[in-house]
Amino acid sequence: MPPAITAEQLSKTFRVKVRGPGLRGAIEALLRPRYRDVHAVREVTFRIDPGEIVAFLGPNGAGKTTTLKMLAGLLYPTSGRVEVAGFVPWSGGPEFKRRIALVLGNRQQLVWDLPPEETFQLNRAIYEIAPAAYRERLAELVTLLELGDVLDKPVRQLSLGERMKCELAAALLHHPPILFLDEPTLGLDVTAQEAIRRFLAEYRDRHGATVLLTSHYMQDVTALATRVLIINRGRLLYDGALDALVARIARTKRLELVLGGGDGVTAETLAAFGAVKSFRFPNAVLEVPRQEAAATSARLLAALPIADLSIEDPPIEEVIRQAFTHGVEEDDS
């Protein structure tokens, strides 16, 4: 099966005006404009197979959205090759656009003063969906997203979570095989985030859609994505499974303890075994070098009254942060 998305040596460079501070800078920029090249995306190469859900991770300004826009055909790359659903996005025209959905968490296509169904009807006309197919798909989306009682309320009266669900429904009525989702859970509460994650997984399973999403919420990533692409300063740092990344770059393990017996154990006692991350009797968390985790556990069990002990990987956020600051080279030290 050919890949759903292919990007080869994809680069995007923006020319931006450089402006000094204050009035002087403004006048200088007007009279003698100076430009600087900003390399938003540099030689990024990856491949995504049909039916995969891939998360795109990176700090703000890393190049995630720029890459997404190139894949969706909104931006021409400076160099490199892209193929999405068998099309070159920026020259694919309407035929290509019928095969993708683009959802941007901070922008909305729903008409503010009208019920969401009105926007759905508009998209029905735009994507030329036959009436029978439209009814069937709408019914499915309404069930999966639990939209039953919001369809006829004006959008302005909906909660943020309900609005995002409707945005997703509007974007999926034409059954695109490829979904580009930029921060689909931005600003939502935990329940709404959870509902959207469940929906996306279910939708992929039913229709075999390929999903590329960016998110700041690690839960989105761990719950949905089988694979992550980590990008920083325009460069692709990592492409692979999330747990493999943790095993590769996490320098530490966490020992989570539940102390038994009296309260004779203090933070100082624990500090002899490793870095104390938190201590509130009877719970304590120690961080120790990865390769010493087993030995330290044994020493702890021998020396202190311990009711329970477990060895965990550090939180995924921390691993990712580490990847951004130190790269993803294997830690040999």
Binding site: L74, L75, Y76, K97, I100, L104, R107, L114, I126
Partner: protein
């Protein structure tokens, strides 16, 4: 003298028509699906607008007030003269009616549609349009129909009709047809000016309010183009073609220009449309970074 100038303009327009038609006609073809999308969009707006019936009253009052002040200003002018650029009072009122009718089209369709382009380029809202399988220019231009503002259109035509009766002229069928064509052409010219102006937003993202620029230029269309000194008249006929928006349709209606002027108007409209479309495409290429 004026007559001669009208014929000269007509000839120029026909010459341009030939250029405009060269292989560019296909850009004027409207696919069936576009009409369906338009119907869906306007149905949506209608549903939205009907919630606010007070807008209708406000719109009518606004229009009447505007027409009132415009007539008053005109009356002040005519206290000192009997002609304005060779036009007498009621002829200028016909022109005011046409101006007001076009204002209705601008306020109902153009300003709420393509007029919001600059803000959307800045906010990135345009991306959602570009991701859809639609012609972006058409979608952005005609996505809104603020139906109540069409009262301007109706009242404007009413004013033109009343002024015409005060002139004691009953236009023949050919003259009426010429007026309709010239008015449609005027609408297209106004549209083309909007597209060209708003496309500037792709280059100068920080331009705050491009529609103010349009208003400044369009102010010039409130008076017959013959009232302006030669250089300005040249600009309004050939460069910033606002003469074609009011002076020409009004002249066709009052019989000041013969019905053949409609051909020239149609040609100018076609040319303006094609140029605006080319400009839009160049602007969009820049936005997406296609022009390097």
């Amino acid at each position: 003298m004026e007559r001669w100038e009208g014929e000269q303009i007509a000839e120029w327009g026909v010459r341009n028509a030939e250029f405009a038609m060269q292989g560019r006609v296909r850009t004027l073809r409207i696919p069936h699906s576009a009409l369906r999308i338009l119907a869906a969009l306007w149905r949506l707006n209608l549903a939205e607008e009907l919630q606010y019936r007070a807008n209708f009253v406000a719109s009518v009052l606004g229009t009447l007030f505007w027409i009132g002040t415009a007539l008053l200003t005109l009356a002040l002018f005519f206290r000192h003269t009997t002609r304005l650029g060779g036009w007498d009072y009621w002829e200028v009122v016909v022109l005011l009616g046409v101006f007001n009718a076009l204002t209705g089209v601008i306020e109902a369709v153009l300003r709420p549609g393509i007029g919001r382009l600059a803000g959307e380029v800045r906010s990135g809202g345009l991306d959602l349009v570009l991701a859809k399988p639609v012609d972006a220019q058409g979608f952005v231009s005609f996505r809104r129909l603020d139906v109540w503002r069409l009262t301007d259109f109706v009242l404007g035509l009413g004013l033109a009709g009343y002024a015409l009766s005060r002139l004691g002229r009953v236009p023949g069928l050919l003259q009426l047809a010429a007026f309709v064509v010239a008015l449609a052409a005027a609408g297209i010219v106004v549209y083309a000016i909007w597209v060209a102006l708003m496309s500037l937003a792709f280059w100068f993202v920080s331009v705050e309010n491009l529609s103010v620029l349009f208003d400044a230029v369009y102010e010039g269309a409130r008076y017959p183009v013959t009232a302006y000194p030669g250089a300005l008249r040249f600009v309004f006929v050939y460069l910033l073609p606002i003469a074609w928006t009011t002076t020409i349709p009004a002249s066709a209606l009052t019989g000041r220009l013969g019905p053949e002027i409609a051909l020239a108007a149609a040609a100018v409209a076609a040319l303006a449309f094609v140029l605006a479309r080319l400009f839009w495409r160049a602007a969009l290429r820049r936005y997406t970074g296609a022009s390097g």
